[in-house]
Subunit: 354 residues, 2 copies
């Protein structure tokens, strides 16, 4: 049936499961894991749940498509996979609870790689109260990280993408284009420690999921639609308008004011040095994992204060408006307009690395 | 940032998500999806749950490692991925409820491939009351299928691997080695429609998760430990003994009676034609997805009747005993004994296809 694999000894499947169990148990000590009756090691995990609403999200990251081990340490890959999934929970306003990891590894399964990956993942997860409760480990031709996370709404109504209406304000948290700038910087061979680029590189390698902000926005009851920015505001806002239009029974669009897009000074300078366009990073560069949301224009200041209270230093910017006219437009102060629907990252239309 | 991919037009990410949503909605019409408040298309699915115990399992299948599209149709790959995950729910005694699919596809994403894969997966899932509630779609260098399933215990206590004790009977449902025989037959270029091999090929391509049997066994309250056979009885029984020994605080082992191992006539004949060993298929061939469980010897007949009532035609065989002596042994009627711990499929120790 089978022959030993070339490549020397690595961890066996059993050893990886045991290591994951030990690291998860250690990390869970730092945070709550109430409700988890049986964790890693059996056919399935057992959760003892209170009545209520829960949200579930899953994300698959593939080596060479979503991450490059030449540009990121294994711990960064683990962190980033967890961040991408936590960001989906943040966008619903949920509290992170339990995670399930499927890991694909190219043999031999090096212990330092597995430890790094799990370490980065659990470092971020446990900070936000998430316990790793189960998973699967398999051999694969490239590194694969799939996480499926369960969050609890704990009495708060989840915020979908579908509640925006014409005339409402389009808002985002934080800076846009930071992660795309960091990736471009690294791909151009830039020094990760350069003070100018450091925040951009950190946004690429160790993004911050906006869990406290997302929860505060959901609790407010004033947010009409919300999603996280994983493929760039051009694509993601088009999705939000599309989903909201379908729910409303009449198509919706959006207009973004170019001058309002929050681009950091660091991103602007880095783009200049690289001969790139920071606004393009902000609009079409994915994986900032900031929150995109809509509300009545009059509610925007109160929501900005709620976000500030939840995550001190995190700004909210009103960058556009939902329109009854379908399509997604970028409007410049001088009156120029350009259509920009779905200019972000489509996994099948574009190639991220080449 | 990006250039169009070579390979001609395939489905876009949006189109795949829409297709999955439409197929899932169609399939859900056939089965219950109570509790699913928001399905495919948002940042996360929303479940409205009653208080109680739930189980969660996840499994990753990789093209070239777990399946070969030269030997299986896309619908078979989807079916098999669903079967492997449902089998984990069966082994806890749970009722299938909601599934989350991560799909990795090599561009171009061909519509017939996506339709076939989702069709086979939903055909089996909806039969057992499972609704596809969310997922993720990405580009990948090989086909990837990850499922994360949630099952409900609905008042029944889940059965773990850890409750077996010395002197208890080791039982299995159905025939062992069928799936390994079917794979060997196909790999040797055998005709899939040969009447001799047809049940073996079906066991490989379209395995039957033992959900009704697993539920009946859990409901009985007489099963002390249970798991599904995904890596062969040699590895899986060793895992059950190990987990039970750890829980008991004293190591446990098991002995399997070679002559009691349920090998079908078809498997025996096919093995003879291929110059292979049907007993080796049964012991070390993985992915039969039958149930392995332990009980007091006196309870075995009642449990066999409960399984018959739940799945008519499905036999239960007592093939061994849990021992206070650690290690896993194969005992022949003539008194020969051979140690066989962990002779099954380790994802990092052996190569399945080459």
């Amino acid at each position: 049936v089978s022959e030993p694999l070339p490549g020397g000894p690595g961890l066996s499947e059993e050893e990886i499961i045991r290591l994951a169990g030990a690291l998860a148990a250690g990390a869970a000590g730092a945070g709550p894991s109430a409700g988890l009756k049986l964790g890693i090691g059996d056919d399935a995990a057992v959760l003892d749940l209170a009545q209520g609403e829960y949200v579930v999200t899953t994300d698959l990251m593939v080596e060479g498509v979503h991450f490059d081990l030449a540009l990121m340490a294994p711990a960064d890959v683990g962190w980033r996979a967890m961040a991408a999934n936590l960001s989906d929970l943040a966008a619903m306003g949920a509290l992170p609870r339990w995670g399930f990891l499927s890991l694909g590894l190219k043999p031999p399964a090096r212990e330092d790689l597995v430890r790094g990956l799990l370490g980065g993942m659990l470092e971020l997860g446990s900070t936000h109260g998430l316990a790793l409760a189960g998973g699967d480990t398999v051999r694969a031709p490239v590194g694969l990280v799939n996480l499926c996370l369960i969050g609890a709404m704990a009495g708060v109504t989840p915020v979908t993408r579908a509640g925006a209406r014409a005339g409402q304000a389009v808002c985002v948290t934080g800076w846009l284009g930071q992660a795309a700038g960091g990736l471009a910087w690294l791909q151009a061979g830039g020094d990760a420690k350069d003070p100018l680029a450091a925040p951009l590189v950190a946004a690429h390698r160790r993004p911050t999921p906006r869990l406290a902000a997302g929860r505060a926005l959901a609790v407010s009851g004033l947010v009409t639609a919300m999603m996280d920015l994983s493929d760039g505001v051009a694509s993601d806002l088009a999705r939000l308008a599309l989903a909201s239009g379908e729910a409303a029974g009449a198509p919706l669009g959006a207009v973004v004011a170019a001058e309002a897009v929050p681009v950091s000074e660091a991103a602007g300078e880095a783009a200049q040095r690289l001969g790139a366009d920071a606004l393009a990073w902000a609009l079409t560069g994915g994986e900032d994992f900031e929150l995109l949301f809509t509300c009545r224009p009059a509610d925007a200041p109160a929501l900005a204060r709620a976000v500030q209270a939840a995550e001190p230093g995190l700004a909210v910017t009103v960058l556009g408006e939902i329109t009854a006219e379908p399509g997604l437009w970028l409007a410049h102060a001088d009156g120029r307009r350009a259509e920009m629907s779905f200019q972000g990252y489509d996994h099948f239309g574009y190639d991220h690395f080449r």
